[in-house]
């Protein structure tokens, strides 16, 4: 096969730009092996995620079945357990509920609870914590991005005394282990009555994401040619007008990417939340671990909750794949 290649050349004419040896049968074969290896690695790597995905749709019994089941009829039981508070219903009450189900007065979750002899008494604490997570992550992200945008613009466009040191300082705050800062913050928050409050957490996450936001946005703004602003200034715009009307629209992609990264980091954050909240402002990550333990570990509920963390991440990974590198290296490395 190889010998005939050197005499006759490849089977199909080469109409792309490529080195001779890249079209030899050996190179093509190696390329296939490489692709196969990547597929195998990716497959092995994604098994845990796949397991989590299917566990979320298993019933309690199926989760603990030996050997683990891959084929099963999916159910939303895990989500019911995750999101609702339930009570065991008496036989009489079950009859009554069944009758209601017959005439279609029960919603999907209520029917699922009924199937295991339970009655929904209200939303679970986890729902509250999810809402906390949404509020805290959302508002703090807006703050970090807005503040970060201003600082990034100033660092990108003006002579600032000790610029490099300041930027390094900003970056270094993110390198501190959370626990190091948390001890004094805990005391500080207790003094200021910020402990376990939404405001406290919002401010904390704003600061937590600020370094990322400044660095990422500075990178994006650095890439916008100054000439546009110079032209606007010559045309009589003030600096502020130039910033809002010229720089901001061009930085939109960068702002969007930064926003999403801040959201993800705030949404995922665990250590601060564990140490600085107890109940009222507690977010989802620390509670998903602790609050589902009552009466044995509800694996399907945990998996269902995890799915809530996984799905946004997958979407983000694909939407921002060109910016992932910047996101995880604080914009220090660009492609």
């Amino acid at each position: 096969m190889t010998a005939s290649f050197y005499e006759k050349g490849p089977a199909r004419p080469i109409t792309e730009s490529t080195r001779v040896d890249k079209v030899s049968p050996r190179a093509r074969w190696l390329g296939k092996v490489r692709a196969l290896l990547v597929l195998v690695f990716a497959f092995i790597g994604l098994i845990p995620i796949f397991v989590m995905g299917i566990t979320a749709f298993k019933t309690r019994a199926e989760v603990v079945s030996v050997p683990p089941k891959v084929i099963f009829s999916p159910t939303l039981e895990g989500f019911v357990f995750l999101l609702t508070e339930r009570a065991v219903a008496s036989p009489a009450r079950i009859e009554q509920l069944r009758a209601e189900a017959q005439v279609g007065e029960l919603n999907l979750f209520e029917r699922l609870a009924l199937a295991s002899g339970q009655e929904i008494t209200g939303p679970s604490d986890y729902v509250r914590r999810l809402i906390n997570s949404l509020i805290i992550a959302g508002i703090s992200t807006v703050f970090s991005v807005v503040l970060g945008l201003f600082a990034a613009y100033a660092f990108s466009r003006f002579e600032v005394k000790g610029k490099d040191d300041l930027l390094f300082f900003i970056l270094s705050t993110r390198m501190l282990p959370a626990v190091v800062v948390t001890i004094p913050l805990f005391l500080m928050y207790r003094q200021l009555a910020l402990h376990d409050t939404h405001l406290g957490m919002i401010l904390l996450y704003t600061v937590f994401n600020l370094s990322l936001s400044v660095w990422l946005l500075k990178g994006f703004i650095d890439e916008i040619p100054r000439e546009y602003e110079d032209a606007a200034l010559v045309d009589g715009y003030t600096r502020m007008q130039a910033f809002f009307k010229v720089v901001l629209p061009q930085a939109m992609t960068g702002i969007a990417a930064t926003t999403v990264f801040c959201l993800i980091f705030a949404w995922n954050e665990y250590a601060f939340a564990l140490m600085l909240t107890s109940d009222k402002a507690r977010t989802a990550p620390p509670s998903i671990a602790t609050m589902l333990g009552r009466g044995g570990i509800e694996w399907s509920a945990i998996a269902a909750g995890s799915l809530g963390f996984l799905i946004p991440v997958v979407i983000v990974a694909f939407a921002l794949r060109n910016y992932l590198l910047r996101g995880v290296t604080f914009g220090a490395i660009r492609q």
């Binding site: 705050t173 501190l176 626990v179 963390f309």
Partner: protein
């Protein structure tokens, strides 16, 4: 753009300012200070505060003001064999996880470097683990590792829990295996963060200009020779950055362990950051001692970073 105020540049610069304009200086201050103030209040102030606390005997839950003990806490920690053990555990954990992440991540990067059909999608999928919340990752790996119904044992072929490993309990077929739980956690760390090294290595590989390989092909260099003389020296700075990030993270490792073992069994997976949490927020709430420990960790992180950065700069200087 249509509402552009028409004014000649001469008029604009003639000093007769038609509207209130902020000077550049004012803009810089206005734009930068809010950020700096927040960072100072939430990072610098706490750092000084905990530096003070590190020299005191204090418990946040006791109704007693801090009492100055000088270097007492530091001496206490540095002479505590348990503390040394936790540092050693952390060091081992860092070495194994960062080493494996480097090998796997760089290997993967070399594999996906040249495009093939679907390589973009697969590369992105490989990157997903590093973006999930570590505590969630820890939790569902706990499920994976479950000795009776977890997939880990099942896929490795241990269907009977009596004869298979119980990773997080550190046992194999009922007998304890030293450090098994630590390696179980390390495996998850490797699973989660190898993609990170891959991402950085990949960007390093893509930045190597094609013509270097063309020149090498002309110069009759074998693939092996090209790898050692071109690829490796060219990506080395980025690999070093990846290793730096990951080493720092290993000293901060907390979420993953909390999700999986909480430090157990016994203190097998008690990494230094976990221990710090335990001292500061559990049991006796030894705030003073915990602050001292925090500072020791901080010094280690700074020392390690400096070492790396110095090496990185030397490498960059040579490449310039």
């Amino acid at each position: 753009m249509t509402t552009l105020p028409v004014r000649s540049p001469i008029a604009a610069s003639s000093g007769a300012k038609p509207r209130r304009e902020l000077s550049d200086r004012a803009i810089v201050n206005l734009f930068i200070w809010p950020t700096l103030i927040l960072l100072i209040a939430w990072n610098v102030f706490p750092l000084f505060y905990s530096l003070y606390l590190a020299f005191t005997d204090y418990s946040a839950i006791a109704n007693r003001p801090p009492t100055w003990v000088g270097f007492g806490n530091f001496v206490d920690i540095l002479t505590d064999r348990q503390a040394w053990k936790y540092f050693a555990t952390t060091g081992r954990y860092a070495l194994v996880t960062v080493g494996m992440q480097l090998i796997l991540g760089f290997g993967l990067a070399l594999l996906v470097r040249e495009k093939f059909r679907g390589s973009g999608v697969i590369t992105t999928l490989i990157l997903v683990p590093m973006m999930i919340s570590p505590v969630v990752v820890g939790l569902f790996w706990k499920l994976m590792y479950n000795p009776t119904f977890g997939y880990f044992n099942y896929l490795l072929g241990f269907s009977d829990p009596r004869f298979g490993p119980d990773m997080l309990a550190g046992r194999f077929a009922g007998r304890p295996v030293p450090n098994l739980a630590l390696w179980a956690v390390a495996l998850v760390d490797i699973w989660m963060w190898s993609p990170f090294v891959m991402l950085l290595a990949l960007s390093g590989l893509k930045a190597i200009p094609d013509y270097l390989y063309e020149a090498a092909a002309i110069d009759r260099a074998s693939s092996w020779f090209q790898f050692w003389r071109i690829t490796l020296p060219q990506v080395a700075p980025l690999l070093l950055i990846a290793v730096l990030f990951r080493t720092i993270e290993a000293f901060k490792a907390f979420d993953l362990v909390m999700g999986m073992t909480g430090g157990g069994p016994g203190d097998q997976t008690e990494l230094i950051a976990v221990n710090l949490y335990r001292q500061a927020f559990q049991g006796q709430w030894r705030t003073g001692r915990a602050s001292a420990l925090a500072y020791i960790i901080l010094v280690i992180i700074i020392a390690v970073s400096n070492l790396y950065i110095r090496y990185l700069n030397r490498m960059r200087g040579e490449n310039a």
